[in-house]
């Protein structure tokens, strides 16, 4: 701070602090406090806002527990409130998407870091970056075309004789998962690649020379070294999946519902902004909890994740 004053003088220092304060206070903290405050207020006609009925309560949060439906998970069936189910399924499928992304991206990251010819690496990276630059809405749309009932995937499978009649792909959460994995896998790939490429290849060779089987090399040497990358990728993919609105809206079926869609319904269809706030706050809370959990499990710091 003293340093800043000495170098840039009081005026510029004042500006810098003002700008940062504008960012953190006006753009981040106060909006979130407003969100939190609104989430406890009832939804009232304009004339009654500020009136005797406008009191704080937990009612908006309790709406999560309204309306039960029957569901089954892992063979057990039980009664669950609709929104709790949506919330739970959003978390569950986001975790599955994260795991799938890791499983698919890990070999590629290892290949790029340790096997690929260094000369072809820039071209490879460039090819991988092309889909990343194409907008998310278009990537989801591309899968909408591919997975359509009379679309190219079914035609191809029918043609090569893998199936007798077309499969309905856009059903339940299937297409949402396919879309989410495709959309966010690169956010897993690049942190993993960065982490693995910093591993000294000699360590792998030493393990090979000493007779370690390939899976043991990955389990005991590569994976522990890549831990910060795994944590970073997992957090990114999970947050993006759980917070995604585009992919579940475009690739969702009649029986799939994402938590962000529920928030959007409260916001834009029911026009009940206060309940939407409560739900948005729940989502924020979940995400914070998840990030903290991952950071604790992997013993990494927030600054390691945002790289």
């Amino acid at each position: 701070m003293q340093d800043l004053l000495r170098r840039y003088g009081p005026v510029l220092t004042g500006f810098i602090i003002l700008i940062v304060a504008f960012w953190l206070l006006i753009l981040v903290i106060i909006p979130n406090i407003t969100l939190f405050e609104s989430s406890f207020r009832p939804y009232l006609p304009v004339s009654e806002i500020g009136g005797p009925k406008d009191t704080y309560s937990l009612n908006n949060y309790l709406k999560v527990f309204n309306g039960s439906i029957e569901t089954s998970f892992l063979g057990l069936s039980f009664q669950v409130p609709v929104h709790v189910l949506t919330f739970w399924l959003t978390i569950w499928y986001s975790v599955v998407v994260t795991a799938l992304c890791f499983a698919l991206a890990y070999p590629v990251a290892y290949y790029m870091a340790k096997i690929a010819n260094p000369r072809s690496l820039p071209t490879l990276t460039l090819l991988l970056f092309v889909p990343l630059w194409v907008s998310e809405v278009l990537r989801a749309f591309a899968w909408w075309i591919i997975l359509a009932f009379k679309g190219p995937l079914n035609s191809l499978l029918l043609f090569i004789g893998a199936i007798d009649k077309p499969i309905r792909w856009i059903t339940d959460y299937d297409a949402v998962m396919i879309g989410l994995v495709y959309t966010y896998i690169l956010f897993m790939l690049f942190p993993l690649y960065n982490a693995i490429s910093s591993l000294d290849t000699n360590q792998i060779e030493a393990a090979e020379d000493l007779g370690a089987p390939w899976w043991k090399i990955h389990w005991r040497i590569v994976l522990p070294h890549a831990k910060p990358g795994v944590a970073s990728g997992a957090v990114m993919v999970f947050m993006l999946s759980a917070g995604s609105l585009l992919v579940p809206s475009i690739l969702g079926s009649t029986t799939s519902q994402w938590f962000t869609q529920t928030i959007q319904q409260w916001m834009n269809d029911a026009l009940d902004w206060n309940t939407a706030s409560a739900y948005a706050f729940l989502l924020l809370f979940l995400c914070t909890a998840f990030v903290s959990l991952v950071m604790w499990v992997f013993r990494v710091k927030l600054s390691d994740i945002a790289k």
């Binding site: 340093d3 800043l4 000495r6 170098r7 840039y8 003088g9 810098i16 700008i19 940062v20 504008f22 960012w23 953190l24 753009l27 106060i30 909006p31 407003t34 969100l35 590629v108 790029m112 096997i115 690929a116 090819l127 991988l128 970056f129 092309v130 889909p131 630059w133 194409v134 907008s135 998310e136 809405v137 278009l138 990537r139 591309a142 899968w143 075309i145 591919i146 009379k150 679309g151 190219p152 495709y182 957090v235 917070g243 609105l245 585009l246 809206s249 475009i250 928030i263 959007q264 939407a276 948005a280 989502l283 924020l284 995400c287 990030v291 927030l302 600054s303 994740i305 945002a306 790289k307």
Partner: protein
């Protein structure tokens, strides 16, 4: 056995690339199919009429203009905020730094829907109606953090002694900033502006909640996809992918040229 694993690895990499690129090809292909529904099967003949139809769509042009305006505004604001934040973070230490830095970073992780709703609510409280100006503010709130990270990385290679020297030689504070610090940061600020610009074009979640009635391209495409589509969206996709690929190739050529130049300067 080793050879076998090696070829398996190459094969997997190839399959992965195909997996990433095929959807884009399918989507692009559908833009040229003379069929009311966007698909590549059955092929009903090649046509360019979806491009013509797209060019005649006024709503698309309006959305396009909005997108550019928002992206430019976001890029400008984000580089100012991000650079100031990086300079501040770089000159403080200890607990305060950890807290402020943590707060800045965490903005990247806040779900877009939450940013959108909270921005809308706060400005609505003080009587500012929703619209693209709020989308700009909402987007800046997390994109600035990305710029901050880029500039902060560049600051690591900055030699503060240069500023000392300038001050000793009688430079004013403004001159130190303008002539010494900022020129060193320009590459990172430029990269930050590019990142901010493209992040803004991509953004859907924040924009969706704050936009009021205005369209951006992403919102336009989204509404088209939901409400019965014609392949005009595919035509738009072809153009966007085309721009992406051209930009990527230009970038690669420039990189190769710099590499060759470096090789010539320092022959080993």
């Amino acid at each position: 056995m080793y050879k076998f694993r090696q070829s398996l690895a190459h094969l997997y990499m190839g399959a992965f690339l195909i997996y990433l690129l095929i959807p884009l090809l399918v989507m692009a292909g559908a833009a040229f199919n003379d069929s009311k529904l966007p698909s590549i099967v059955p092929w009903r003949g090649t046509t360019g009429r979806w491009f013509v139809e797209l060019a005649g769509d006024e709503r698309m042009w309006l959305a396009f203009r909005n997108t550019l305006l928002v992206a430019v505004a976001v890029a400008l604001l984000a580089i100012v905020v991000g650079t100031a934040a990086a300079i501040l973070i770089n000159s403080i230490s200890g607990r305060v730094r950890t807290v402020i830095y943590g707060m800045m970073i965490s903005t990247i992780l806040i779900p877009g829907a939450v940013i959108g709703i909270s921005t809308l609510l706060m400005w609505n409280k003080i009587g500012v109606p929703p619209g693209l100006h709020l989308s700009v503010l909402g987007q800046v709130s997390y994109i600035a953090a990305m710029v901050m990270l880029l500039v902060l990385a560049r600051l690591q290679s900055f030699d503060p002694a240069l500023e000392e020297a300038a001050l000793d030689l009688g430079a004013s504070h403004g001159q130190v900033m303008r002539r010494i610090l900022l020129p060193h940061l320009y590459p990172a600020i430029g990269a930050g502006a590019a990142v901010a610009f493209f992040q803004s074009i991509e953004n859907f979640n924040v924009t969706q909640f704050t936009r009021g009635g205005a369209d951006t391209l992403t919102v336009y495409v989204f509404s088209k996809v939901r409400a019965g589509i014609t392949p005009t969206i595919n035509a738009l996709a072809v153009i966007m992918i085309g721009i992406t690929i051209v930009a990527a190739i230009l970038y690669e050529l420039r990189r190769r040229r710099i590499e060759r130049m470096m090789a010539r300067v320092s022959p080993e």
